[in-house]
Amino acid sequence: MQITVNVNGADYAREVEARLLLIHFLRDDLGLTGSHWGCDTSNCGACVVWLDDVPVKSCTMLAAMADGHRVRTVEDLAVGGELDPVQQGFSECHGLQCGFCTPGMMMTARWLLDHNPDPAPEEIREALSGQVCRCTGYENIVRSVLWAAKHEAGQREAGA
């Protein structure tokens, strides 16, 4: 079937099988390998991308369901080569080790801060609770998101 998906601001028209998963469309058809496949069952969240500004698990969505919608992936986090504060926070606070869960974690963290710019650690943990990291024990991921929140608050203050 023919679909057109806006991915990271560009329209992609492709002929796909109706059963093609969104994660495979992104990775195999568009070559956007930053989003990862990890479990098949919506448990791990390595595949999290945004669909029209909401985090979704792209291993449990068909590419066809994204037809006519906007998808945002980790490759779009940095704007004009400038890292998103969430990306900076993950590096500053050692919020990643093997890096496999990181893109999905960062996409959810970005969404959280867009809706709650000053989250408590418990709120960060809850927001990320549908995603799994096998390396960090979550401690430094929480600190990374707190770092980004603080950094953005500083930026807002400087801009005000």
Binding site: E17, R19, L20, H24, R27, D28, G31, L32, T33, G34, S35, H36, W37, G38, C39, D40, T41, N43, C44, A46, T73, V74, E75, L77, A78, L83, Q87, F90, S91, E92, H94, L96, Q97, C98, G99, F100, C101, T102, P103, M106, P121, I124, R125, E126, L128, S129, G130, Q131, V132, C133, R134, C135, T136, G137, Y138, E139, N140, I141, V142
Partner: protein, 797 residues
């Protein structure tokens, strides 16, 4: 407030290039630019998929692949017979056994590899699996290891000539007679059966490979999820029969390993054969169920422990008998002289008179493996056993478990200490580590709080564990895998402008080697870590070595990095002496440069020397130019990290729910090169402990159906189950490691499960519960409170 964060107690902190520098690796990962095996795309690449057995034990009567071969997008279908025709149906395991690549005679566990389809895309390969028809004749399976040696038990490995039972090995350590004598004269003896249940490392990236065989050159290139690229190259050479110099293993970014990516799996070999048959590169990536059901599991140790002590709480001896479930093929990955791994370090951290253990390995109709999941070659099982026994003894004696441990811990002056089963612990200050942990926790206050809560009917638990590990295998004369000695190489190339490239044999899976090892070289040569690049994961670009598992990277490859940098430094000394026109002996290393003794103004940095070494400077007779050096590091002993952990839980006996309120971890891994990375390693291991203690088990039903085959059933800890970890540190350098470092990657995975279990059982003390096996799920806790503990590993009622 975070208690004890960054607290460091010990013999000085290292300066210079050491410290919590941000990781070089992060730049690519935070941009989504990592390069994992499934990200590899080659022109003309085909995709493989495996047909797996639905049965745990069955004879294969026939396989019909006609319909699959007729699928328009299928390029090849491989069966055991295809492989047998090439002598590839069986491959050696890492434990001197053989494993079926694709089953020819029988299937021996649910999920075993039966056929391999190569197709033009992933979906078609899966479609074609449905078109293969296999006629199975079911056989009775052996699921419970405790029945594997029963007379009349079905013989699983009838492929082995003359095999009449399911016995693999008997192995023992320590002095049985002396130990029995101590037990016979002891005031107090307590015994306990306990199971360390089967779990799985479950790295977030599953296992896979892209194989590309070039028929013209005979070159085989394999991109794969490997923790040990060089060992894999040798293994492929032995199995496939290709000359080793024609094989190149590239392990790109690896999305977590934890021991899961040490062995070679049938899918890798099928991808190789698929590429040979089709002339195209073939990618095979397993899915999550395949990962959990067929690749290397962990633990599955059925243990009986006994501990002997005096009435006043002096621990005298320990003994243990273990039944080890190795699954259908003995594929566990450990040094070959140690079939039970390093389990005999079960004497723990205590001053004992005697110890003896006996381990029996058996086949069952389950997936092969056993040594994985950050276990430091079975030290997880050993530490769990002794730390549970010490807690049970404390209960028997009516002593506080912290007091009992403090009374019996080895004292600093006893190091180096040889334990009753023969390990020589290199260094330690155990009472200090336990005291630091108790201080962070405010242990007396916790006990007061617990007492007052008990009066109110609330159930709070305080659990302690103290662990000693032995990590960093070899020495090579004692330790090998498949005859390959456990030593690791390092090459250091110094460019004319003073920039350096270090090549190492180990392979990062998230441990940050590109950063840490650059810091080691920088520290030794007075450079910035930014001036040092680290190459790893490509057998064509790195020297031979056995790879990353058993917490061996820093103890072995980290040592190699320091030694090779010192070789470069000594070569630089000769060149500097020519530059400064003094004798080499007149130069001293300042930490940043070679300088003339008594005249430090006259000095040259490594960067200045590097340019001169590549230039026209006249060098002394017999001195080669350039500064490059190579080394092979053969560790003289293991390093022995240790730590004291305290876990505080709140347990609801009505629902069985366990909440971890606090977890204090004090680790001593010697000198910390990058404390930020060390703490990250500890954090991750602590989360593993939460999973093992409370959530994870690979269970089976009576027919051998795997009940842990997805993340819906095999539960991993999320941010909600994990508390905010409270870390502390002490520093006791290793006396034999070049920079005093010890391994740390598995410490927390080893040390945390007993702390959590001890905590839960401490909470349940009012109910008279002495022991319950992991995982302490709500159902397990509730059953224990009801007085009906059950086996979590079997769904057999």
């Amino acid at each position: 407030m975070r208690h004890g964060d960054g607290q460091m107690t010990g013999e000085g902190e290292a300066g210079g290039a050491y410290g919590p520098v941000r990781r070089k690796e992060d730049a690519r990962f935070i941009r989504g630019q990592g390069n994992f095996t499934d990200d590899i795309r080659l022109p003309g690449m085909l995709h493989g998929a495996i047909l797996r057995s639905p049965l745990a034990h069955a004879r294969i009567a026939s396989i019909d692949v006609t319909a699959a071969e007729a699928h328009p997008r299928v390029r090849a279908v491989i069966t055991g017979q295809t492989l047998a025709d090439r002598g590839l149906a069986w491959m050696p395991t890492l434990s001197q056994d053989v494993q079926a690549v694709l089953a020819t005679d029988k299937v021996r566990f649910q999920g075993q590899e039966v056929a391999f389809v190569v197709a033009e895309d992933r979906y078609s390969a899966r479609d074609a699996l449905e078109l293969i028809s296999v006629d199975y004749e079911p056989l009775p399976p052996v699921i419970d290891a405790r029945t594997a040696l029963d007379p009349g038990a079905p013989v699983i490995r009838d492929d082995l000539a003359g095999k009449q039972d399911n016995h693999i090995f008997d192995w023992e350590a320590g002095d049985q007679v002396a130990t029995d004598a101590v037990f016979a004269g002891a005031d107090v003896v307590v015994a306990q059966d306990m199971l360390y249940p089967r779990s799985h490392p479950a790295p977030l990236e599953t296992c896979g490979a892209v194989a590309d065989f070039n028929k013209i050159s005979g070159q085989l290139t394999i991109w794969t999820t490997s923790q040990a690229p060089h060992a894999h190259r040798t293994l492929y050479a032995l199995v496939v029969g290709l000359p080793e110099h024609k094989i190149r293993i590239i392990s790109p970014d690896v999305g977590g390993g934890f021991g899961n990516k040490v062995p070679i799996y049938p899918g890798y070999l099928c991808a190789v054969v698929g590429s040979m048959l089709t002339g195209s590169p073939v990618k095979w990536m397993e899915d999550r169920s395949e990962n959990l059901m067929s690749t290397s599991f962990a633990r599955d140790y059925h243990m009986h422990g006994e501990i002997a002590a005096t009435r006043d709480g002096t621990i005298l001896a320990v003994r243990a008998t273990v039944l080890a479930d190795h699954g259908a093929f003995n594929g566990s990955a450990q040094p070959s002289k140690f079939p039970a791994g390093f389990f005999h370090i079960f004497t723990g951290s205590y001053d004992l008179r005697a110890a003896h253990c006996q381990v029996t390995g058996v086949y069952t109709n389950k997936a092969p493996g056993g040594v994985a999941y950050s276990c430091s070659f079975r030290i997880t099982e050993a530490v769990y056993l002794v730390e549970r026994m010490v807690d049970i003894l404390a209960g028997e004696l009516g002593m506080d478990p912290a007091e009992l441990r403090m009374k019996n811990l080895l004292r600093p002056e006893q190091f180096p200490y040889t334990c009753p089963t023969g390990w020589q612990y290199d260094s330690g200050n155990y009472p200090r580590a336990l005291q630091v942990a108790m201080d962070i926790a405010d242990y007396p206050e916790l006990r007061r709080e617990q007492a007052s809560k008990r009066e109110r009917g609330e159930h709070m638990g305080i659990g302690i564990s103290f662990f000693t590990e032995g990590v960093g295998a070899g020495p090579r004369k004692h330790m090998d895998i498949l005859g390959l000695g456990m030593a690791d190489g390092a090459d250091l190339r110094m460019h004319p402008t003073g920039k350096a490239v270090l090549s190492v044999s180990c392979q990062t899976q998230g441990q940050g080697h590109e950063t840490t090892f650059a810091q080691i070289v920088a520290q030794e040569l007075g450079l910035s870590p930014d001036d040092v690049d680290v190459v790893h994961g490509d057998t064509d670009r790195t020297p031979f070595g056995l790879g990353t598992y058993g917490s061996r990277s820093t103890p072995v490859s980290g040592a190699a990095a320091a030694v090779v940098a010192r070789k470069v430094r000594e070569r630089a000394r000769i060149v500097a002496s020519a530059m400064l026109e003094v004798a080499p002996d007149d130069l001293e290393w300042s930490g940043r440069r070679w300088q003339v003794r008594g005249d430090p103004e006259k000095a040259r940095t490594i960067t200045e020397i590097a340019m001169a070494a590549h230039g026209a400077l006249e060098l002394p007779e017999g001195v080669e130019g350039h500064l490059d050096a190579a080394t092979v590091y053969n560790p003289p002993n293991l390093t022995h990290p240790f730590g004291a952990y305290i876990c505080v839980t709140d347990v609801d006996p009505v629902t069985g729910q366990v909440q971890i309120r606090r977890f204090i971890a004090v680790d001593d891994c010697g000198v910390r090169i990058n404390p930020m990375i060390v703490e990250g390693q500890v954090h991750g291991g602590l989360a593993d402990g939460v999973g093992m203690a409370l959530m994870q088990v690979i269970a089976f039903d009576a027919d051998g159906n795997c009940l842990g085959g997805s993340f819906m059933d095999y539960l991993l800890p999320t941010s909600m189950e994990c508390p905010s970890w409270e870390l502390g540190a002490t520093v006791t350098p290793s006396p034999h490691h070049p920079i005093g470092a010890k391994g740390v990657g598995e410490s927390a995975t080893v040390g945390s499960p007993p702390a959590i279990v001890n905590s839960v059982l401490d909470a349940l003390r009012p109910f008279g519960v002495r022991h319950a096996d992991m995982p302490l799920t709500p159902a397990a806790v509730w059953s224990a409170v009801q007085g009906h503990p059950y086996r979590s590993d079997l769904a057999i009622t």
